[in-house]
Symmetry: C2
Subunit: 180 residues, 2 copies
């Protein structure tokens, strides 16, 4: 493993309600210096939930994504609230976004989104033994829930509304996990 | 498909060298109003390259990721330069980051990273028929190249240095693509 660069200086260069931008001056072990920017980490991390029915179907949600200015097909997800562990957060978000609770939660993997400029982490959690239960969250509208057979994952990838890399990775990992 | 929310107002709330933050006021079709923040889109998109050898091994790179303040195992990637198409950008980045060119490039899928707060898109490109060729890029140090058998993908997921969701998704899609 290479020797990590030395961090010479971290400067907060911009702030908004959600985002905090930092400039980081680094010296690599070969002496080369670089200045990078990144989004600072906030909060306790997030969870992405892969709800799987007894018939091996996953519950996708159709959610408005303001980054794309369009509806997108993805998996339920959300930030971990204070006092919650990953499974409690997963169960709550599943109830808020898809209207189901789960009696059987399994953690698959902690994933990063774009580690070159942000430290954000999201934990993929498989949710099984589902039962109907709706919790009121802060969602502006009720999300459409779309059932999709896990064995037809390759066809889902042809859908241009299904693009989120974290959801693609989570579904493949789930298929592999359930085959074991 | 639901009716898209009406965008009432977009305000630029923070700027740094790389990032531009926007606040968006929306009215959903049910009348509910929300104010969100997002990172504005910049540039021509990006490519992630999945280099596959004749022996069905992928070439991973070990790169310093300032978001994590650590080295991470991932796939070569980079921004598309002016005048380049996706395949030209993929071939160039592969030469810069892994020291290989490719005679056979195939586009797999356009992926998004975190569509709820950014519009960034990255195209996964499989690169085969590799040949040694190093181009000097803007990398601060030469990256270690790690060969990994595609058939042992599940074991790679156990590695805590391999976390990037876009790379996980890209490798699974590549395995599926090559099995066809």
């Amino acid at each position: 493993m290479p020797v990590k660069p030395e961090i010479l200086k971290v400067t907060n260069t911009a702030n908004s309600r959600l985002f905090k931008v930092e400039e980081i001056e680094l010296r690599f072990s070969n002496g080369v210096e670089r200045t990078y920017e990144r989004l600072a980490n906030r909060g306790r991390g997030a969870v992405m939930i892969i709800p799987v029915t007894e018939d091996n179907e996953v519950l996708l949600i159709r959610e408005y994504a303001v980054g794309l200015e369009d509806y997108t097909l993805t998996l339920p997800k959300g930030l971990i609230d204070p006092g919650e562990d990953e499974h409690q957060a997963a169960d709550r978000e599943l109830k808020e976004e898809a209207g189901f609770g789960s009696h059987k939660l399994d953690t698959l993997k902690v994933m990063t989104s774009a580690p070159n400029y942000m430290g954000h982490k999201i934990t993929a959690v498989v949710a099984r033994e589902l039962y109907p239960c709706r919790l009121q969250g802060d969602e502006p509208e009720e999300m459409e829930v779309v059932k999709w057979p896990l064995e037809k994952l390759d066809q889902l990838l042809l859908d241009e509304d299904f693009t989120e890399a974290r959801a693609i990775a989570a579904l493949y990992m789930t298929r592999s996990f359930l085959q074991k």
